[in-house]
């Protein structure tokens, strides 16, 4: 008889900077997470409508549809994930707006180590 194991947490990464999204995928997969990456807000919402994720790492500045619009429309998703907003640089207005729209954390990619994001994902 096999022991039932908990399926890995699923993380959706929405970031149009492919090297950054790839780094997040590599690190999270190494830590045992199941990851999917998309490169714009519209693809992100489409993925959330068809698939379920525990955590969304959401870049705020993306083509087609930005991260703020994704946050505004997350209410339409049946089981919305926990959202961590990712910003290129620190902008106090963006931080306030993203947290106000429901993001649980706001990370500045240019300031923090990858490990900090992974630690937050582990604690989510």
């Amino acid at each position: 008889m096999t022991t039932p194991t908990t399926p890995p947490k699923r993380v959706l990464i929405a970031d149009d900077e492919h090297p950054l999204a790839h780094a997040l995928e590599l690190k999270l997969q190494h830590e045992g997470y199941d990851t999917v990456a998309v490169s714009d807000g519209q693809a992100c919402l489409k993925k959330l409508a068809s698939d379920q994720f525990d955590i969304l790492l959401l870049d705020l500045m993306m083509p087609v549809m930005d991260g703020f619009s994704v946050l505004e429309q997350l209410g339409t998703v049946s089981k919305p994930p926990v959202v961590f907003a990712l910003s290129g640089l620190r902008q106090h207005e963006d931080e306030k707006r993203a947290l106000g729209l429901g993001a649980q954390k706001y990370f500045v990619k240019s300031e923090i180590p990858l490990e900090t994001i992974v630690d937050a994902v582990k604690k989510a």
């Binding site: 620190r90 240019s110 990858l114």
Partner: protein, 257 residues
Amino acid sequence: MSTPPTPAKPEVEFMSLVAHQLSAPLAAVRWYAEMLHKGEMAKPLDATQAELLSEVQGAAARMDELVTDLLNAAHLDQNKITDDPVAVQLADVVATQLQPLSSQIAAHKLQLSVQAQPDLPTLTVQLSLIQMIVQNLLTNAIKYTPDGGSITVSIRPAAAADLTHLKHATPDQSAIVLAVTDTGHGIPAAAQSQLFTKFYRADNVRALGISGSGLGLYIAAAATAKLGGAVWFESQEHKGSSFFVVLPQNSPTAAKL
């Protein structure tokens, strides 16, 4: 000293654009270097590889500083710093800004002394601006003080002589002075008039190979001006420098609340 001149709009927009465009690839360099350094994705590095990688990480950290300085300078020039004023104790801001600098202070065997007079009133200011002022003055002192030197930070009520530096001083105005004194390389007399100019770096520190964006003091001065304060310095080459910032208890933005 006078308020830094307002830069031309295209220059500011260019700085902001450069900062944004550099930030993502730079974060990628740091994150991949971090993964290599931790040795999680591949075999652990040998000593030479680890040394080369730490050079990459050091260079990326210096570029990070430059990007942050470019963005802060652009935001100051564009009046894009809009966080609400809050009441803060200057000593608390200094303590917070010193935390991430403690390893550098220890690595360079610098003697740090912080002297804050008790019962000082709070300042009502935009936190991001006061952080920029304190962070840049501290970083400056650390960067330009040779190993084994000393840095003294003092916080005290403004005296009548300090208030003369303010543009719109009134005799009963309550203000606080932050002074950062170091035993560093000092500023050559010929360089002193240009010190707060954007991208300016004195020849003596350039010759020593000390890296810097030339924006730190510009940012400190511009942020001080936005808070209705003034900045000045006293310096002697080879002996050290003292930078002084006087800030009114309520910044002009706080007065509008």
